[in-house]
Amino acid sequence: MLPEGLLPRPDDGPALRPRYLRDDDLPWLRALLDVFRAHVGRPRRELMDRLREPLPVEGPPDKRKRAVHVLERLTRRRVKAAVKPGEARAALFGARAKGLTRDEAIRVAAEALEVEPTGLLESLFADLPGERRLLALPADLGPDQLALRTNLAMVQGLVARSQRVTVRAHGGARDLVRHARLMGLLCEARPLKAGAILDLSGPYALFRRTLVYGRALASLVPRLPWCDDFELRADYRLDDEARTLVVQPGDPLFPCAEPRRFDSKLEARFARDFARLAPDWDLVREPLPLEAEGALIFPDFELVHRPSGERVLLEIVGFWTEGYLETKLRRLRAASIDRLVLCVDAERACGRSDWPAGARVVPYRRRVDVGEVLAAITPRPPGTRPCRPREDR
């Protein structure tokens, strides 16, 4: 995430779309990477001195500063010294304090540490940030990836200065909601024909913008590229000016590692077992969210019976209480979802007698039994209608 001083200002481009690093920036980014790589093994100070001079292919100064900042974060360093710098300082400054002259102190300390006087002096501050030797950059870091990483850092810096963001997401909304909640954000969700609209903000956003939750909002940005479709809008403040940022598919941003496909090993194992044991059924990992009592429900799975087209939603519930299940079922009933199976952990919380009346519940112990699930969903009880995604209703 870029610091405030490196973020684009109003005269840097249109209000809504930041000036990303793109293909025409690659030549000078390549030159910048070459400079960094040429200084591997050298003190960082020398690299900084070199970067004050022009590059063989020059880029816009503001963009260059951003790329250098990102590269600095990616660069690791190590101390290279004949003797540990801390030991060198202790010996040399201690000797000097005994009243020895400078030369005498160096000689005495060098003898005590069994190094040459020049080695002692070179080691003295070899651990300072500017004296540390640069290690090789990641081998796969090319100019194109550096551009993506710099763009991501810039967008995250802007989003971090916003009070709330709105994300329209299709395919991946569930991961965004889960991540937002993990980061302590409040998430209001509304269904769309395809996907959902998420209004995300920190609890404190009611009073003012905070950087604590700004950073939490920024952490959503690298997850966006994993959505099938998305649009992020963030109203942010910079230099006391209110501005709006829009991020869309195709924006050149570095994505995070692919989000986990399943919330737990339990879910992953169920998906694997179901695919093997129920050949007539398809398992949809992230069905469209459902609206119920003003909230969005993201079911874990949708099971689709290929011959009949029948659809059943399935939720795997780990920790639960009677009240939790009651609320869940009430919401589902309110949304006219009657074809839903809840798989509940029989080893936790309350027992079978506490299950809400009328619930289609499959208890499990450590592993959801596909046979029991199939028994629960076929045949469909008379008088009930198949569950369909919202846009089908």
């Binding site: 000097r96 400078r102 302590g184 404190y204 009611l206 905070t210 950087l211």
Partner: protein, 445 residues
């Protein structure tokens, strides 16, 4: 309102308070806002003291008072604590460096007996506070920051760690002690104070800012303020200030004037056009043109030259020889000058780059007389409990009168018959003359 309060339950929610009332109730409570996201009333966590009415989950989580015997206090420290107590346990105590602010903070923790969080700006101060509390505090002291994550009834945290976690731990502490509180009041750090429910808050500083910003709201007003001269000669050592006016060499003068001319050619017109612009705004504007970038490079060179020119090096060497038998602290404008002095004079530097353990060893050796001098640009400025030093040599300064007061305080720890001496090295016909004048005026005030 009374009826509403009787049904109200306050819950801490990620740095805020959620008031569990029906949506139809009027928003009559101060600072409370209807939050449509959760369909409930919400208030900032720091408003808990005003909103609470009887037992609630937050009070239960904080727990009851368990006072313990406070450390003995000097009369002015006891007065400061009393003033803070009279102000309902809120306020800023402003005492000069070396006057024992930490002890007032420890006494406040002991007196209230509440779970307390001490906020400090640096890792050095983190461990110093832990050591001070360990001596008197019953039970283990928690540490948050510098790689530690151990929350206890009494915990010391760096500003940064507290800021990152207060939305999750803001309901655990009844007392906040904010060391070097002048860092708060104007920025993102304030979030940490806003997201805590702590009803009791004590700010400690040697140099309260003229504009307190949000400090009165989040910590309280200034309840006690003493200056160096109020205590010098009694609870602080008497001291002499010696200003030494120096000249640049001919080559240095030429280089300095050239660089300043380059800088003024850009900075002068900018100042006329934007008289209220800040330095970062100027730097941002200048970095967009070739002339501007040259101007920025020129002012950097000029500052580097002034930080440690030949004359300062020569005078410093003779001062060190003159005071070889006395403990001496050397203050520079930047780390670069500190390291130059360290290399040339073989004096231990105390900077942010030197690890905690090595710094602690160096300070112990300084106390024991194994090191006669230390050099630093900023780390020694604030709070650090520096052993008895008699001589301060200010080679360079960048942060004005506040920094200067803190630096001088480093040599004012009282001892029998002690008279400290502060040397200020000022280069003639440079910007340092003006800065020195401002420092003198401020100090006299």
């Amino acid at each position: 309102m009374l009826a509403m309060r009787q049904v109200m339950r306050i819950v801490f929610d990620r740095g805020t308070l959620l008031l569990t009332q029906r949506a139809t109730d009027a928003p009559t409570l101060p600072g409370t806002v209807w939050d449509p996201r959760v369909r409930g009333w919400r208030a900032p966590a720091f408003a808990w003291r005003e909103l609470r009415d009887g037992p609630d989950p937050i009070a239960a989580r904080i727990g009851g008072r368990r006072p313990w015997p406070p450390p003995p206090l000097r009369p002015y420290q006891a007065s400061a604590l009393e003033a803070w107590r009279r102000n309902r346990g809120r306020g800023l105590v402003c005492l000069p460096t070396g006057a024992g602010k930490t002890r007032v903070g420890v006494a406040a923790i002991a007196h209230t007996g509440l779970p307390a969080l001490v906020l400090v700006p640096t890792r050095v101060l983190l461990h110093q506070w832990v050591a001070s509390l360990d001596e008197v505090c019953p039970g283990r002291v928690g540490v948050l920051g510098d790689g530690h994550r151990d929350l206890r009834r009494v915990t010391v945290s760096t500003f940064a760690s507290a800021w990152r976690r207060m939305d999750r731990m803001g309901d655990r502490f009844g007392l906040l002690v904010i060391d070097e509180a002048h860092h708060f009041g104007h920025g993102e750090r304030d979030e940490a104070l806003e997201m805590s429910v702590a009803p009791f808050r004590l700010g400690l500083t040697a140099t309260p800012p003229e504009d307190l910003g949000s400090l009165p709201l989040l910590v309280g007003p200034v309840v006690t303020q003493l200056r160096v001269d109020d205590l010098a000669g009694t609870w602080l050592a008497a001291y002499d200030r010696v200003e030494l006016a120096l000249d640049l060499t001919e080559a240095e003068r030429i280089a300095y004037e050239q660089d300043m001319a380059t800088f003024r050619r850009v900075h002068g017109p900018f100042r006329v056009g934007f008289p209220s612009a800040t330095w970062p705004e100027f730097a941002r504007a200048a970095s967009r043109t070739d002339d501007g970038r040259r101007a920025l490079a020129a002012i950097r060179r000029a500052k580097r030259l002034l930080a440690y020119p030949t004359a300062k090096a020569e005078v410093l060497r003779s001062l060190l020889a003159e005071h070889h038998a006395q403990r001496t602290l050397i203050f520079t404008a930047n780390n670069e000058a500190a390291y130059r002095i360290a290399r040339e004079e073989l004096i231990m530097p105390i900077t942010c780059d030197i690890g905690r353990k090595e710094r602690e060893v160096a300070l112990r050796r300084f106390r024991d007389g194994e090191l006669r001098a230390l050099v630093s640009s900023r780390v020694l400025n604030e709070g650090l409990d520096v052993p008895d030093a008699e001589i301060a040599i200010v080679v360079g300064s960048t942060r004005g009168a506040r920094e200067h007061v803190q630096r001088i305080g480093r040599v004012l720890r009282p001892a029998e018959g002690k008279r400290a001496r502060v040397y200020e090295l000022v280069t003639r016909r440079t910007s340092e003359v003006f800065q020195a004048m401002k420092r003198s005026q401020s100090f006299a005030a």
